[in-house]
């Protein structure tokens, strides 16, 4: 794959992340590319849906499923030949989801030190896991600086939807 081509797809993923930022969401964006065609576009929609699992990748997976429905394609064949371009390393949850959908290749921007499932916190992408799809290949580092800059901008503002932190008195194990 040409580097220039990858950069171009990643630019489109960055545009999605910008839209998330404008909506007050954690700025992560992604594309699902199949046969040189964008068949899914996702941005973080956690606050909009009040569902903490609506990460860009999960949104884009749903779009690919819809696309397969509309085009009468076999989802297994389509996901098996789709590349995900995402601005930030997929989290543990998304990495497990991508495995289950059997996406072979993920190209991402910056590392996700807080939740990363492709090596940063856990290595879900390459681990041997029964009943959790297939491992996938990762290529990191495309436009990581821009992805990081957007995250910094977001975390400088306080998340207006998060509750005020409260001191927990309850004793808890772990």
């Amino acid at each position: 794959m040409e580097a220039a081509e990858t950069e171009a797809w990643m630019d489109r993923a960055i545009d999605m992340a910008k839209k998330a930022l404008e909506n007050g969401e954690v700025p992560v964006g992604c594309l699902m590319v199949y046969n040189n065609e964008i068949i899914g576009k996702g941005k973080n929609e956690v606050n909009e849906t009040k569902n903490a699992t609506r990460h860009a990748e999960m949104v884009a997976i749903d779009q690919v499923i819809d696309w397969c429905c509309q085009h009468k394609k076999d989802p297994e064949e389509v996901f098996g030949h789709t590349v995900l371009y995402v601005t930030v390393e997929p989290c543990i949850m998304c990495a497990a989801a991508l495995r289950m959908m059997k996406i072979p290749l993920v190209i991402y921007g910056c590392q996700n030190e807080r939740f990363g499932g492709c090596g940063s916190v856990l290595n879900i992408s390459s681990a041997t896991l029964t009943d959790t799809g297939e491992p996938f290949q990762c290529i990191a580092g495309y436009q990581s600086e821009e992805a990081v800059e957007m995250l910094k901008t977001f975390y400088r503002q306080e998340n207006p939807n998060a509750p005020k932190s409260k001191v927990r008195k309850k004793e808890c194990f772990n």
Partner: protein, 345 residues
Amino acid sequence: MEPQCKRQKTAELEDAFPWQVVPVLSERELRHVVLMPVYAAPVLDKKEASRLVKEVSAIYPLGDYPHLKRVRACGSVDSSHPLEMILCLASGKQEQDALQTLLELFPDGQLDLYGLGEPFLTQVPVYPPVTRLQYEEAASHWPVSFHENKRISQAMSGCLFTPSEKASMQSHMKLAIQAAQRGARQGMKPVGAVVVDPATGRVLAEGHDCRDGFNPLLHAAMVCIDLVACGQGGGAYSFQDYPGCTFLPSANNLDQSPSLANGLPYICTGYDMYLTREPCAMCAMALVHSRIERVFYGVPSPHGALGTKHHMHCRKDLNHRYEVFRGILEDQCRNLEHFSGLNNP
């Protein structure tokens, strides 16, 4: 000792439940005692003990191992000396080499060696014990300090929950089992989940696995997370084709529950989830993102991420942790695996 008394008092009532609620502890809480070699020496004269402890501690502090007691009493009557004390850590390499003498260990004359016997190597616990079981194992090697977490001890001895709490757990798990059966009648995998606000006792969402329906990622936990969002006026999916998937609209849930932040619910903060079986890595991480308070599941799964393959609920490197208990209605939950909607219309 208090938990023991309570346990006896409620023993008869507890027998009413043919299942046991088992805490799913972290690897830190479950691990066996790990040992490391140290140099120790007999204290021949008891009167010298406090001076020796002070002086040796200044030369070889045990700062990284505050749980280790510096001195131990020699239990056996025929021991030639009353006490033994840790001098310093020994590396694995030293262990293979010849034993060092007192003069080699304290070469600069900083220590008045009077009262100390010849050093020997012994094994001591590396980590502070966090459970009573670990404490007992650790203390059999060398005396250690132990700050008991009452909650863990109670959970491990099975007396953390009162009979009425267990009755409510059982009724919630029954709802999850019923949801699983309703799903199975529509051709879905028989896995069910329920979300409850423990502050009010209200059931906020009931759902079942929909992975064999319109989306392969809609495992029961993912379904219930979205149903809770639906109840809060959000949500990404419509479950109208699945009557086994329902939610309580937040209009019916507006009283000031203590689990509400700023008076408004925030995703699953403060809520409990009941699952008929242990969730996978995706679902366990989704529950971290959703800030769930506690998870109760029936049976472990071979690829489960809450105790079997991972301990996703108690990782120090993730920004949220939750408590996990298993075993609620375990037999009924296990039997769900063989439940087929076709045989049970």
